[in-house]
């Protein structure tokens, strides 16, 4: 699904060069649930932004679902992002003056679906996250957990191949976080590949594989049991 080979990302200013990623190698298979951990400034976010085609990399190769993204122009990258990727952010990132229906509608508009198909997909996605009855509500009328569910519905509505989640439970209390995590596990169980950045070791152990990043390089790969439910059973143990 995702393969990065010898990838580097350098931020340059007039004075200094900062290597966010160097010699970065990762391969995520279809259907995997991979968590990415690492200390602040280790390059997790740069990795996720590059994986999400929100930033360009400096050197190396990145193949997303069989497509080499190097040298793609903005239009092609945007189309690929829209078709293959779904995003979930720590801050939910819903558009406040759009209803839940219209928020979920945003990526579908860019995909060019007709009105009937968009409506069906929006209703399905919101039903999946348990918010079908609140389509006309606005984000401010929902709790944090509910807002994150809407963000998940928005990410799912376009049937992405890869879901990129940047600390999706970081702004939620324990109960809400658990609910969101269970929802992500369900989505993964239905075949969607998930790549999740987290600081929470408990969440990391629930994934099939944890990738630890230090100083812009993958320092450790911990392969967990192949099923999530096994991982759930192993909850309480810490990744090495």
């Amino acid at each position: 699904m995702l393969r990065m080979t010898n990838l580097s990302k350098v931020y340059r200013t007039h004075m200094i060069e900062t290597h966010a990623l160097r010699g970065f190698e990762i391969h995520v298979n279809k259907g995997e649930f991979v968590t990415v951990t690492g200390p602040s400034g280790s390059g997790k976010t740069s990795f996720l932004n590059i994986a999400g085609l929100l930033e360009e990399f400096t050197e190396g190769e990145y193949i997303l679902d069989g497509v080499n993204v190097k040298g793609m122009d903005d239009n092609a990258r945007s189309r690929l992002r829209n078709e293959k990727l779904g995003f979930i952010f720590q801050g939910f990132n819903l558009i406040p003056d759009l209803s839940l229906f219209d928020n979920v509608d945003v990526p579908l508009r860019y995909r060019g679906f007709n009105a009937a198909e968009r409506k069906e997909r929006i209703e399905d996605a919101l039903a999946k996250v348990g918010l079908a009855s609140r389509m006309k509500h606005y984000p401010a009328e929902l709790s944090g957990g509910q807002q994150q569910r809407v963000a998940i519905a928005r990410a799912l509505a376009g049937s992405p191949k890869l879901l990129l989640a940047d600390e999706p439970t970081g702004n939620l209390d324990t109960q809400m976080a658990r609910g969101v995590m269970e929802l992500l596990e369900e989505i993964n169980a239905q075949g969607t590949t998930i790549l999740m950045v987290t600081h929470d070791p408990e969440l990391a152990v629930r994934s099939q594989r944890n990738v630890h990043i230090i100083d812009g390089q993958v320092s450790d790969l911990v392969r967990k049991s192949p099923t999530l439910f096994d991982a759930k059973a192993a909850a309480g143990t810490h990744a090495g």
Binding site: D74, S78, Q90, D97, P107, D166
Partner: protein, 437 residues
């Protein structure tokens, strides 16, 4: 996507209502200032008779003296002498010909309830009505025989006909005026060409005046009617009416109607020959070729639109530019708080081009709102201008062309102002915005 972006634009008007209102108002004031001055220019400069304006031709003969003359000087006057008018009327050139001058008459109504009043009219030949397509309500123009004999017949303007005879058809009735009894042969519909191109040189101005009656040119000459308008004499014309009409004073406006625009060259050749002949006879002193002007050229030559009108239009556009600079600042402020939304949309698959489209359409919606308000302000401004004078009341009105132009100007201005803020919105780095949320 246009419909989607348009709907987003409408919603966006509700976001930051104070900022939006300020933007719409800024744009509306700029648009109203430009459109109201342009409306007046548009009406003033319109072609009053588009289908034949290139066939209606004014000959200009320079009859000025040699004293103080430098070759290349403009003629003393743009009107014609009686001698030339009479000769050209007889020339048979063109399809139609007419000579016009203004007259003022004391009218003595048959009705006892109206006292004697003064009315302003025209002396012209019968061709006048067909040449300028004056619309008849009753009756018709007089004929060639009346022209030749100078018969006392009159065509009344509608207002004067109603004043004298009420709503009845007065054709065949008689009107006592200028000491004679004139038989009514026709009544015109209300007819106010804008501008009054057929007689630009008069004390009445080019706009908003209606001739109250018309009598045959020869009847006016026979009746020794003085010109009620501008008369230009470069030498003493001598005593008496006959001496005046035989002099080189200019006071008549003359028009040819050519059969086709191609006949203009024939008329020019004829006029060249005529002027050469008159110079040979010793009448014309200056060695200047005669000129022909069609309607639009004639209006341009006579500066129907004065330089002050053009200057005010430029000033109004400068003001619009100032408003646009303000609008750019306001749009920058409005769009700067939308960086997070841009980041989200980019992450969800919007290309920079799509963001550009969305924000540009959004500014177009602001432009439309500015256009609606601008239109209301323009109507207000035109109403104020119309209150200045009767002439301004005629030109200060809006037509469909200007109404459409108002919206186009407003939307184009808004989009122009929106280019920089929109471009800046497109430059948002989505990754930074998404993380900072």
């Amino acid at each position: 996507m246009f419909q989607y972006y348009f709907m987003l634009g409408l919603r966006s008007l509700r976001r930051n209502p104070a900022l939006t209102a300020l933007m719409v108002l800024t744009l509306a004031i700029g648009v109203a200032a430009s459109v109201s001055t342009l409306t007046i220019l548009h009406v003033m400069s319109g072609n009053p008779i588009p289908h034949k304006s290139d066939r209606l031709l004014v000959p200009l003969i320079d009859v000025g003296p040699l004293l103080d003359y430098t070759p290349g000087d403009a003629p003393e006057d743009v009107q014609m002498t009686y001698t030339d008018a009479r000769n050209l009327l007889k020339s048979g050139q063109g399809e139609r010909r007419t000579a016009i001058y203004g007259i003022a008459a004391a009218v003595e109504p048959a009705r006892k309830d109206i006292g004697v009043f003064s009315a302003q009219g025209l002396a012209a030949t019968a061709d006048f009505f067909a040449m300028f397509e004056a619309p008849f309500l009753h009756g018709q123009a007089w004929g060639e025989a009346e022209d030749a004999s100078g018969a006392q017949v009159v065509v009344l303007g509608r207002a004067m006909a109603e004043k004298l005879f009420g709503q009845t058809n007065p054709v065949g009735q008689r009107v006592t005026m200028m000491g004679g009894s004139y038989q009514v042969v026709g009544v015109l519909e209300k007819w106010i060409p804008i501008p009054r191109y057929y007689r630009l040189i008069s004390g009445l101005g080019s706009f908003g005046t209606e001739d109250e009656y018309m009598i045959p040119f020869q009847a006016a000459i026979n009746g020794k009617n003085q010109n009620n308008g501008n008369t230009n004499c470069t030498a003493n014309s001598g005593a008496g009416y006959q001496a005046f009409i035989d002099s080189e004073c200019t006071w008549i406006q003359f028009w040819f109607e050519a059969k086709s625009s191609a006949e203009r060259a024939t008329l020019q050749t004829y006029m060249d020959g005529y002027v050469a002949e008159q110079r040979k006879l010793g009448r014309l002193k200056r060695n200047v070729a005669p000129k022909l002007f069609d309607v639009m050229e004639w209006m341009e030559y006579n500066k129907v639109i004065g330089n002050d009108s053009k200057l005010s239009a430029w000033l109004a556009f400068a003001f619009l530019l100032l408003c646009l600079v303000n609008a750019i600042g306001l749009l920058l402020a409005k769009f700067s708080v939308r960086a997070a939304e841009v980041g989200i949309r980019r992450a969800l698959g919007a290309s920079q081009r799509e963001i550009f489209r969305q924000f540009l359409i959004e500014t177009a919606v602001v432009g439309l709102a500015g256009g609606v308000l601008g239109l209301l302000l323009t109507f207000g401004a035109l109403a104020l201008i119309a209150m200045q004078s009767k002439q301004m009341a005629i030109v200060a009105h809006m037509d469909w062309v200007m109404l459409t132009f108002t919206f186009i100007l407003s939307v184009a201005a808004a989009m122009l102002a929106g280019l920089l803020p929109t471009w800046r919105a497109c430059q948002v780095t989505p990754a930074m915005q998404l993380k900072s949320q």
